[in-house]
Amino acid sequence: MKRRTFMMSAAGAAAGMAILPRMSFAAEGVIDWYTSSDSNILDFWTNIVKPAFEAAHPGVTINLVDAGDGAGIIAISERAMAAKQTNTDPQADFFESADPLLPAGAIEAGIFVNIKEAGLSNYSKLNPAGIQSDYSLPYRGSQVLLAYDTTKLDPADAPKSWDDLVTWIKANPGQFVYNRPDKGGSGGNFVRRAIHQANGLDPSMFTVDNYTQEFGDETLGKAWELLKDIAPSLYDNGAYSSGNTQSIQLLSQGVVTMVPVWSDQVLQAIDQGVLPDTTGLVQLQDLALVGGFTRSVVLETGTNRDAALQLADFMLSEEIQSAILTELGGFPGVSWDHIDPELRERFADIVPQSIPTFPGGAWEAAINDGWYRNVAPNVDRNS
């Protein structure tokens, strides 16, 4: 009995060891693709982009992988940097959404393709407003706006400026909620809009490399005061949902009347019946809520670098850019001149004239930490 048990566990251990350190190599012709976006984007790639691209490029397939969040993509980039030092395969070719500035030194290490120089035939069509770096490709955009329940709030009375919004929130305590800024862009960009509000509605004040402790404390400090001011009038005396989806859930359950949402996510939610047809959308007119372009990055060291660049070029084609409008509810990364006039007409409403943006980098960490320390705890929830 004992011997048999021993043999069995020894065999099991040996088998385990044989499986454990097995190396895997990226396959030629299979683009390893990662995203940090929400599942609606993954669905869009799975159902629209992947079949179209694979049909247009026989022999090349895309392996779609959800990296979870931005930090997940950064971890894969760090792995690619380490792999480059030993000339090994990073097992990654294409990041659907990434900031080439993170992790620090990635561009210098040479793991990302300089897309501007890569000779993409469609590169010149890009909307210049979206280009932030030569190493990333702003292929789609979306913006945060306010979604509300028209059965409780007449569209004629929907707030059109920040001050109106604050007045409305205070007049209707418990009817507004935004998510924690680090847990989803809808709440995150609502917080950034408050930062713009506190600092003279001038998005150009904040750039990716002008964060200093002093400047940050001063500018962000003013925004925390604004947010603390409305906190007691939020849902449940100052509760914050833990993500974009949870905010939409609270709106759909009729718990709150208004939430900030991503344009693409809310249009899809209405389309799928998650939110009723009576959902209204409104954008602030004094300065729109922050939005942004999603930028893709191609890995220089990936096995399928050239195929991944073909994919990048394909993303700017009219076929996909139109699908971003019609299927995703986002807005295109290319300039409007390169969009079918008919579509241009149809989506005139959700297309913003200007898209205020907010830089990432050090600002992001400062906002994430500052909000939790200053805004989140400062409410006596039991009062």
């Binding site: 009995m1 004992k2 011997r3 021993f6 566990s9 251990a13 969040d69 930090a71 924690r180 680090d182 849902y235 449940d236 509760a239 914050y240 949902s241 833990s242 949870q246 859930q249 609270l250 359950q253 009729g254 718990v255 992001e364 960490a365 994430n368 930490d369 939790y372 320390r373 989140a376 705890p377 929830r381």
Partner: protein, 294 residues
């Protein structure tokens, strides 16, 4: 391996004084794996927080990240809410699971089988599913509210996004393990002992207090330390159901590491969390050792 060939003829229970290395070999793989994946990172993490470069890049002994943690009211609040949640869960688990386990031990038939299946059921539900189910049932305008509303009662004060959210979720999640351990412990309570106590006139509470509890105190300790270890560093349920602030150590560490890009403070938080867990772990080890000594 020649020793092994002789092993087959050995009696089932070892009586000779000579110990063979077979046992040690069997545990070697898990022990090495634990040393590599758990113990080494712990020492590594601890060393990296106390022995690190200062502003000039010179390595030296530095406790400033710990000083920061314990002088920072925000971090202290997070630690406090974690201890409160853990304590509250342990208490509720005992209050809920002891009666279930005693019922299952002393009753027969089909109904207890169903009760047991129901008590074990949470083990098969992933916590993320549990969290969303919780929101739909106990959340604002959830199923409970709808039911209450249909009979004309006021809505409940929802525990969603309050400290009670994670408590309810974690208790539900930990019921199976606690019930199973307590049930195993109750196996050592003999029916004769209880019948004897009844014969001399002991009431139910006296039977529980003087006969059952002393027998299972060890199991209670084990069950609680198991639950506490898991709850203290839990992530998913506090993250999805709890308030933005104060947050439990699990989400706090994760956020500090990923969103604030501050590995040093995240590791410091992890070491502090580990120190609390090791204290609970020692309870467990001590009770097991005491049991073996008997």
């Amino acid at each position: 391996m020649t020793e092994l060939a002789e092993g087959g003829a050995r009696p089932l229970i070892e009586k000779t004084g000579s110990r063979r290395p077979t046992g040690l070999l069997l545990v070697a793989v898990p022990v090495l794996l634990m040393a590599w994946l758990i113990i080494w990172p712990i020492f590594n993490a601890f060393a990296r927080t106390v022995w690190r470069p200062d502003a000039d890049g010179d390595y030296g002994f530095n406790l400033s990240s710990y000083v920061f943690f314990f002088s920072d009211q925000y971090s202290i609040n997070n630690l406090t809410i974690t201890l409160w949640t853990t304590g509250m869960c342990a208490l509720l688990l005992l209050v809920i699971c002891l009666p279930i386990a005693i019922y299952l031990r002393f009753s027969h038939g089909r109904l207890p089988a169903y009760v047991q299946a129901l008590a074990i059921f949470p083990m098969f539900v992933p916590s993320i599913i549990l969290a969303y189910a919780f929101i739909r049932v106990l959340g604002p305008n959830g199923m409970v509210d709808i039911l209450l509303n249909s009979v004309g009662l006021p809505k409940i004060r929802t525990p969603y996004l309050t400290p009670w959210g994670p408590v309810i979720g974690l208790v539900w999640d930990n019921i199976p393990l606690t019930v199973l351990i307590l049930l195993a412990g109750l196996g050592s309570v003999s029916n004769q002992a209880i019948e004897a106590a009844r014969d001399v006139g002991a009431r139910r509470l006296q039977v529980f207090w003087y006969i059952i509890l002393p027998r299972i105190s060890n199991s209670v300790l084990v069950a609680i330390s198991f639950a506490v270890l898991g709850i203290f560093s839990s992530f998913t349920l506090p993250y999805l159901l709890g308030p933005a602030s104060p947050e439990m150590m699990g989400p706090f560490m994760n956020r500090t590491f990923r969103e604030v890009n501050d590995p040093l403070n995240a590791i410091t938080q992890a070491v502090i969390t580990f120190c609390f867990c090791i204290a609970f772990g020692l309870f467990y080890v001590r009770s097991v050792a005491r049991n073996q000594g008997k």
